[in-house]
Symmetry: C2
Subunit: 200 residues, 2 copies
DNA sequence: GTTAGCATGTAAGGAGTTACATGATTTT
DNA sequence: AAAATCATGTAACTCCTTACATGCTAAC
C-alpha cells in the first residue's frame, strides 16, 4: 500500500531505537504493529536489513556478550549506529505528505514519543486534513454521479465514509490532547475548520 | 495489500457489466470505489485493459454509433464480451481466502447484486472470521508481550482493535440482514435506510 | 491563442510476495 | 527421533507507480 521504500526502513530504525534485536523478532513486531492487513515477508525484510547494513544505518552486535552461553549462535542481532539514529530523527521530523500516508502515518505515530510536540501536531493535522479532503472529494463526486445507486454500492460508500469520519474524530481528539498538554492554558474552543497543511 | 492481479480485472469486469465505458471514466469510478487510500494510475489501468482485450474478456465498441457526431473520436469505449461476463461470474462465485482480502472483498461487495445470497453469505462470513482471527491473534500476542507499553503504541493498538471490532459488527449486521431476507419472512422493518447498522 | 482538462499510452524501476533452500534448537 | 518452531537467506516474479510522451477538445 505504501509506496515509499522508507516505510520498512523507518519501522526498523524505530524498533532498534528501543533496543537491539534480530531479524526474526523484528518481523514479529512489525507484523503486530502494522498487522492490520499485511504480513511482512522475509523476502522483503532481510534484503532491507542488508541494505541498511551497507548504508551503515545499523550494525551487527558483537556475538559473545555472555561468555557462559557460548554456543547459541546463529541469529544476528542488530543495533542502531549513530548514523542510523540520526537518520531516524531526520525521517521522524518530516511533516510533508509522505508522513500522512496510511502506513507511514501509523509508523510515525507508533514512535511519536521520540518527537517534539510541534512535529506531532503538524503530522496529526496533516493527516486529518488529508482525510477531510478525501471525504469532501468523495461526497462532491457522489452528489454529481448519483443516479440509480446499487444497494450494496451505497452501503459500501456509507461504511467507508463513516470509517473515515471516525478516524477524523480520533485525530481531532488527539490534536486536542496535544494542545491541552502544550501549555497549562485550558483548551480553547476547538476549531472545526480543517487547517490547511504546511509541507516539508 | 492486495496481491492478486485479479483485483483490477474484477473491478473492470464489474463496472463494464453495468455498461460500456472508456478507460478514463473507468479510472475515475475505480478511484471513487476503492479510493480509500489508493489512486489507480494509468500506468496500471491501460496495460490491464490491453491484457483483457488480448484475452477477449472485453472488446472495443464500434466507434460510429451516432453518425451525426462524427468526429469526437479518440476515446476507446469497452464492453464486456460473453467470455468476460462468464469470467466475471466465475470470479464472483469464488468464496475462498482471496475473496476475503481487503481490496478483493470491497470489490466483491460492490457487485454483490450480481450474486446469489448463498455466495454473499459465504463471503461475508469468511471475511468476518478472518477479521476475528486477526483480532484474537493480536490480543493474544498483546497479552504476552505487554511489559512497558509506550503511550502512543498503546493508543495505536487500541484504535486498531476498535476499528476491526467495528467492522466485525458491520459484517454481522449484514449477515443478519441477508439471513433475515432468506426466508419468506416479509421484511419486518420498513426499508428507508438499508442500514441495519447498530454502530458505535 | 493559450491554458486546462480529457484521453491514451509506454518505459523504467521500486517494493514486496511466493517459493525455494538451509540449518539450528526446542519440544514432544 | 520426530515435529515444531526459530532463524536466515535468495531468485523469480507480479503488481503497481512515476515520469514521460502525445494529441484532442473546451473554455477563457
Amino acid at each position: 500500500m505504501a509506496r515509499r521504500g522508507e516505510t520498512i526502513e523507518l519501522a526498523v530504525l524505530g524498533l532498534l531505537h528501543e533496543g537491539p534485536m534480530h531479524g526474526y523478532e523484528l518481523r514479529k513486531r512489525l507484523n503486530l504493529m502494522l498487522g492490520w492487513g499485511r504480513l511482512l515477508s522475509y523476502g522483503s525484510l532481510y534484503p532491507a536489513l542488508k541494505k541498511m547494513l551497507r548504508g551503515s544505518l545499523i550494525a551487527e552486535v558483537a556475538p559473545d556478550q555472555v561468555p557462559g552461553v557460548a554456543s547459541r549462535r546463529q541469529r544476528i542481532v542488530y543495533q542502531l549506529t549513530d548514523k542510523g539514529a540520526a537518520e531516524f530523527e531526520r525521517l521522524m521530523s518530516e511533516v510533508g505528505p509522505t508522513a500522512w500516508e496510511d502506513d507511514n502515518f501509523d509508523i510515525r505515530f507508533r514512535f511519536f514519543s521520540s518527537t517534539d510536540m510541534e512535529i506531532r501536531l503538524r503530522v496529526l493535522e496533516g493527516r486529518r486534513s488529508r482525510l477531510q479532503e478525501r471525504l469532501d472529494r468523495v461526497q462532491r463526486e457522489l452528489a454529481m454521479t448519483q443516479k440509480e445507486v446499487d444497494r450494496y454500492a451505497a452501503e459500501l460508500q456509507r461504511h467507508g465514509v463513516e470509517s473515515v469520519e471516525r478516524e477524523v474524530r480520533w485525530l481531532s481528539d488527539l490534536i486536542n490532547a496535544e494542545r491541552g498538554a502544550r501549555t497549562d492554558t485550558p483548551p480553547p474552543p476547538p476549531s472545526p475548520a480543517p487547517s490547511p497543511a504546511g509541507n516539508d
